[in-house]
């Protein structure tokens, strides 16, 4: 179903930080972060498919960080990192919330959930990316991480 946490992906090499970004919880800023991330991935030679998968993943995770993590409190910050490990484009998105266990979310493709209005965001992100992780941070807050391995253009 999702590739997350399955076989090790071939990009555990040196980490190159591209951009780090810290913003308030303002939905108007989500598009800027998405544009910044997708421009970066385009510059790094990823394909249009990779760009659009990450556009979706960054958008969904940003929206969740603001709505669920920071509960729409404008003063609560979101910290975003884009970095490369070999052919993997990584995104970390940190909010000030208490986190969640992605393995406990209902399967939106189960027949009883198929017509639900909600509950497809993280499922889709996991399917469009590799190495999806949610980690509580030592001080406070939560970090959601995912990466996209360079694909061949279809």
């Amino acid at each position: 179903m999702s590739q997350a946490n399955s076989s090790p992906i071939p990009c555990e090499t040196v980490e190159t930080l591209l951009v780090e970004l810290n913003i308030p919880s303002d939905m108007d800023l989500v598009n800027m972060v998405v544009d910044l991330g997708t421009s970066m991935i385009g510059l790094k030679g990823f394909s249009a498919d990779d760009v659009s998968a990450l556009r979706f993943a960054i958008h969904e995770t940003m929206v969740n960080a603001i709505l669920y993590g920071n509960k729409d409190k404008p003063d609560a910050r979101v910290n975003i990192k884009f970095y490369l490990k070999g052919d993997c484009f990584y995104t970390d998105i940190e909010d000030e919330g208490t986190g969640f266990d992605p393995d406990l979310l209902a399967d939106p493709t189960a027949p009883e959930n198929l017509l639900n209005v909600h509950g497809r965001g993280i499922f889709l992100v996991k399917n469009l990316t590799e190495d999806f992780k949610v980690k509580k941070l030592p001080e406070k807050g939560v970090r959601v991480t995912f990466c996209r391995l360079k694909r061949l253009e279809r």
């Binding site: 659009s52 493709t109 497809r120």
Partner: protein
């Protein structure tokens, strides 16, 4: 998001364009569907050709459109799912609950 509503052979076609995302698009779509139901329209097509980006809230809103229309005795079909949108519907298996078309005439004719 922008919505343009038109009729063809007794079928209502909503041409959606732009982004359908949380807070912009989902609400407009819900209003548009309520209006169609209020006006007793039963045969409805969502034309997604000009949709640039859809997020999980936008997808959820299209599912809500389907169930609302069905509850009111109508039928909803989808037209022109461009590759990226189709992928999202495939991964979520929503492709199995929607009737989808790549050609507008076929979509309209399928109601009759």
């Amino acid at each position: 998001m922008r919505v343009k509503s038109r009729e063809r052979d007794g079928v209502t076609i909503l041409d959606l364009s732009g982004d359908i995302t949380i807070g912009q698009g989902d609400v407009e779509l819900r209003k548009e569907i309520s209006e169609l139901i209020f006006n007793e329209k039963k045969k409805i097509i969502l034309n997604l050709r000009k949709v640039d980006f859809i997020d999980s809230s936008g997808i959820g809103e299209i599912v809500r459109s389907l169930t609302t229309i069905q509850k009111n005795g109508g039928i909803l079909k989808l037209l022109h799912l461009e590759a990226k949108v189709r992928d999202l519907f495939t991964i979520t298996r929503l492709i199995t609950v929607f009737e989808t078309f790549e050609n507008e005439k076929d979509a309209v004719d399928s109601f009759n």
